[in-house]
């Protein structure tokens, strides 16, 4: 697999970005829902938010790199046989995934930094608070963070169902080219 995208498939960098972000999103959602229900004496009461915030910052960085990498790489061509509405729907879902993930990482950042405290990145250094003291900042950012996450989980389900549909029903290369697998139905140059 090449590092860069080709017209037929995603390159190694895109594949790693995709799956590492997928892992981060699902891990963060699970961790976030679990940690906000912990009791005060749970051994994870302070460590779970620490990891959630650190991984969240990592996701933000991955998102920026991903969008930049997307800009400087060719986009694999449409897969023959896919219908126009499928291509359009997939593109809309991809756009909303990027947009909502950006909203999620920004709103998460605004919760923790609402009163000027920075956020530790795995204990290596602290990302400073840049925007503080907006009216009810932490509460409003928290509500946005929660509900947009719910929206993204819905989109992730749709996105995954679409991929499985192409892989299992249509038997095309949609999922293969994001897994770095050998393509069945296209000749690679």
């Amino acid at each position: 697999m090449p590092l860069r995208n080709t017209t037929k498939r995603y390159g190694l960098i895109s594949v790693l970005l995709h799956w590492s972000m997928a892992f981060c999103v699902l891990a963060l959602a699970a961790l976030g829902l679990w940690m906000t229900d912990l009791t005060y004496y749970s051994p994870y009461y302070t460590s779970a938010p620490f990891w959630h915030k650190s991984i969240g910052l990592l996701l933000a960085a991955l998102l920026v790199v991903r969008l930049a990498w997307r800009l400087v790489n060719p986009k694999p061509e449409e897969i023959p046989g896919q219908k126009r509405w499928e291509i359009t729907l997939a593109a809309v879902v991809h756009t909303f995934l990027y947009l909502l993930l950006a909203i999620i990482v920004i709103s998460g950042y605004l919760i923790s930094t609402a009163k000027g405290q920075g956020i530790s990145l795995f204990g290596w250094f602290e990302v400073p608070a840049l925007v503080t003291g907006l009216p009810q900042q932490a509460d409003r950012a928290g509500a946005v963070h929660y509900w947009v996450v719910m929206g993204v989980l819905g989109l992730v389900a749709l996105h995954a169902l679409g991929a499985l549909k192409h892989h299992l029903l249509d038997r095309d290369d949609t999922l293969r080219r994001m897994l770095g697998m050998q393509l069945k139905n296209a000749k690679e140059n």
Binding site: I111, G116, D139
Partner: protein
């Protein structure tokens, strides 16, 4: 929260002021000469202090008739501030103050009993988190007199201890942290 402070009073200090009528004072929250604070144990190892930044209130007070004093305070519970964004967000949630449902806490005095020359027990009803319960503020008259800008001021401090469970605050912070102490310090400007 609004806190009420009561008129506490006491009399001896006032002899010079000459006011014989109970006067109405508005708590000087705008000038930040008043604060509603709380303190709670962290695990039994230290104290956490916090405050409510937004409240309003007034009291009547006559040094010669301190037992006729009365106080009313209204506190905006969304203004809770412990200088920690995530903790404050948690304090506003339904684990603690449930400010979405109960954005206001109030205290209204019902009785002032002098316990010394400048100390009093102020009994009143505290409504917090939608629960109304009588509480007794252990209050102290600090002083009164003219200010340098043409006004007249009187100030008090007071404390009381609340059990979180009594006010339906559901989060369990551990055995050392079942109670919270309210510490109020107010200055009123005579109207």
């Amino acid at each position: 929260m609004k806190k009420t402070f009561a008129g506490l009073a006491l009399g001896s200090i006032m002899a010079l002021s000459g006011s014989l009528q109970a006067a109405d004072y508005v708590i000087d929250q705008k000038g930040q000469h008043a604060s509603v604070n709380f303190k709670i144990s962290h695990l039994g190892y230290s104290w956490i202090y916090g405050r409510f930044n937004d409240f309003s209130g007034d009291f009547s007070w006559d040094a010669d008739k301190p037992e006729a004093s009365a106080v009313k305070v209204s506190i905006n519970t969304t203004s809770v501030d412990s200088n920690h964004a995530e903790r404050d967000k948690h304090l506003r949630s339904d684990d603690f103050l449930n400010v979405a449902e109960h954005p206001t806490a109030t205290f209204e005095s019902t009785k002032v009993e002098m316990t010394g020359d400048d100390t009093a027990n102020i009994t009143g009803n505290l409504m917090l988190n939608g629960v109304t319960k009588p509480v007794v503020l252990d209050a102290k008259f600090i002083g009164e007199g003219e200010d340098p800008w043409g006004g007249y001021r009187a100030g008090f401090s007071g404390t009381t201890t609340l059990t979180l469970k009594d006010f339906d605050i559901s989060m369990d912070l551990g055995p050392a942290s079942q109670d919270v102490e309210l510490i109020i310090s107010v200055e009123g400007v005579r109207q």
